[in-house]
């Protein structure tokens, strides 16, 4: 395996982990934050090996197939419908997904 450089210094620190967790909408516990700082640092250190390759003239490859845009006719087709769409909702009424209030004042639009 790769030799681990800068053993004392983490690639990603506690504050960064907290910021990423916020972006990812994960309410991590303090213990998880500390654990992820260590584990993600080790993984990021490993992936540093990519920097050994000169990729200045290489195109990024996002997708392996010779397909570009797939177009189809703009025709109406049957969709799921309200009942099936709402069937798995944790909280709902007859027509809508229910969530806690987002805006404090009514008519806040």
């Amino acid at each position: 395996m790769e030799q681990r450089k800068n053993m004392g210094q983490k690639k990603i620190d506690i504050e960064q982990v907290k910021q990423v967790a916020k972006l990812a909408r994960l309410a991590l516990s303090e213990a998880e934050i500390a654990q992820f700082a260590t584990q993600l640092s080790a993984i990021l250190e490993y992936v540093e090996k990519l920097n050994r390759l000169d990729t200045a003239d290489v195109e990024p490859l996002a997708h392996c197939l010779p397909i570009n845009n797939c177009l189809r006719e703009d025709r109406m087709k049957p969709s799921l419908g309200t009942e099936k769409t709402l069937a798995n909702a944790p909280q709902k009424d007859e027509q809508f997904f229910l969530v806690p209030k987002i805006l404090e004042e009514p008519g806040g639009f």
Binding site: R25, E32, Q39, L40, K49, L53, P90
Partner: protein, 482 residues
């Protein structure tokens, strides 16, 4: 009687049922007898559908007795990995976040199995959202290797591999993002095929790494993989990444299976043998000798970027996962936290309470790799390296029909052996991951046993849409050793 049925292959059972010699209902009863006897210990299934399966089997038996036409898998008991949507039962992805999820639609592969009159008997365990190499990341249950219950079945399609190995079904579907069909097939001693990216529709496969995911069969042998591929392959207008059939014509793979590949040229990459256990290397070398004896020419090649595959994969796959798994928000379906303080907590607490550690770790890594200031250094860099890795494969297939290497550097490891260090677990995918980055098809077939009597897998890799050649090459070896 029922034990005799279990000796049949998928194809053998299919033929026997079609001729009216074996009843589908007896085959279904036989696999449920196996499940009832062994699955409490093995833990391959998250859910089973005994009543429905027996009913379907009786319908097929009746059709056959009346001489009515039936599909190409008529009456054959098949298991599917629980990340493929079914309107019957639940589709859990082995995650607490989807524990009670009932899909409003069937995945295209499920529709195709049903159209072929297969009997879907149950849904198999996996690493949560297919993220893992041992099935130990399942949020719902533990699966052990049927050959040694102290060892993992591999992953992420560990339940499917274990179910096939323990004869609790006649074949199964899995999904493969970085080796998740081939590695468990190798660990459990069965055959597992990852088709070319785009060959099989992913509509209704719960997404993990969308530029990498592909559905494929796990079965007793190569012919059964071909039979399953015949059923599930093809363009699907519901999956814009499924390839059109002009570019990639559909073949009757089963029909061609016994034609040896004439003038076969095999590439091996000596540098890659360095990282594998000696018993694994010896078994692969033994297999190469079998091909030589059958007239194949073997050339040695270099794949200079192969060793960068794991690093590129764990940036690309996690980036895609962080985006794909954003849909689990506690609002539309799935688990929601109790008493959230505000709407943000609906997301952040629901996700944190219901996702397992590996899923969170990958979402975190992917979110970081995509975040402002790190995108170029990590994600974009990984995509460029992906292009170099694909280039290695393109160069190899200009010189050879296929590449042969181990499926995994080791045989099945002990339960708990690699769970403490995620990076060690990732490194166990060293031979399978590059294949997904390049999008090419590959198969793992059994090629021997180590001193602990654990199966070793031979991986054969072919060029894009060359499944026909791949299966014929695999069959050449299988025929020699059986």
């Amino acid at each position: 009687m029922s034990k005799d049925i279990l000796k049949l292959t998928c194809r053998g059972l299919r033929d026997s049922i079609a001729k009216g010699e074996t009843k589908s209902s007896d085959a279904v009863s036989a696999v449920f007898a196996q499940i009832e006897e062994h699955d409490a210990k093995i833990g391959a299934f998250i859910s089973t559908f005994k009543e429905e399966a027996l009913k379907k089997a009786k319908e097929i038996d009746e059709k056959i007795s009346k001489g009515k036409p039936v599909g190409s898998l008529a009456g054959v008991p098949i298991a599917v990995k629980d990340n493929m949507c079914t309107t019957f039962g639940t589709t859990t992805c082995a995650s607490k976040i989807l524990e009670n999820f009932r899909s409003p639609y069937n995945a295209t592969v499920i529709e195709k199995l049903l159209a072929a009159d297969a009997v879907i008997i149950g849904k198999t365990n996996l690493d949560e959202f297919a993220m893992g190499s041992s099935t130990e990341n399942s949020g719902l249950k533990k699966t052990v290797n049927p050959r040694d219950p102290s060892r993992v079945p591999g992953g992420s399609s560990g339940g499917s591999a274990a179910a096939v190995a323990a004869k609790m079904c006649f074949a199964a579907l899995g999904s493969d993002t970085g080796g998740s069909i081939r590695q468990p097939a190798s660990f459990c001693g069965v055959a597992g095929l990852k088709p070319t990216y785009g060959r099989v529709s992913r509509y209704g496969l719960v997404a993990y790494g969308s530029s990498l995911d592909q559905i494929g069969p796990l079965a007793q042998n190569v012919a059964d993989c071909a039979l399953l591929l015949n059923v599930i392959a093809g363009h699907d207008e519901k999956d814009s990444t499924s390839i059109d059939e002009k570019t990639a014509p559909i073949v009757n793979w089963l029909e061609k299976i016994d034609q040896p590949a004439a003038g076969l040229k095999i590439a091996v990459v000596p540098q890659l043998f360095e990282g594998a256990d000696s018993e694994v290397v010896n078994a692969i070398k033994g297999a190469i000798e079998v091909y030589k004896r059958n007239g194949a020419e073997v050339i040695e090649i270099k794949m200079p970027h192969f060793e960068y595959a794991i690093a590129a994969y764990y940036l690309i796959a996690t980036a895609e996962a962080s985006s794909n798994l954003a849909r689990y928000d506690g609002v539309h379906y799935g688990y929601r936290t109790k008493n959230p303080a505000d709407y943000v907590e609906v997301y952040s607490k629901s996700r944190n309470e219901a996702f397992g550690q590996e899923v969170k770790r990958r979402i975190m890594l992917g979110t970081y790799a995509l975040s402002s200031g790190y995108y170029d250094a990590y994600y974009l860099k990984a995509l460029k390296v992906r292009n170099l890795i694909r280039g290695d494969f393109t160069a190899a297939f200009e010189r050879a029909d296929c590449i042969i290497m181990p499926t995994s550097p080791t045989t099945a490891f002990k339960i708990g052996e690699k769970t403490a260090d995620p990076l060690q677990m990732y490194l166990s995918d060293v031979y399978t991951i590059a294949v997904n980055l390049a999008g090419v098809p590959a198969i793992s077939i059994p090629c021997g046993f180590d001193k602990n009597n654990l199966p070793i897998g031979l991986q054969i890799i072919a060029s894009t849409f060359q499944e026909e050649k791949l299966l014929r090459i695999a069959r050449m070896f299988e025929r020699e050793i059986k």
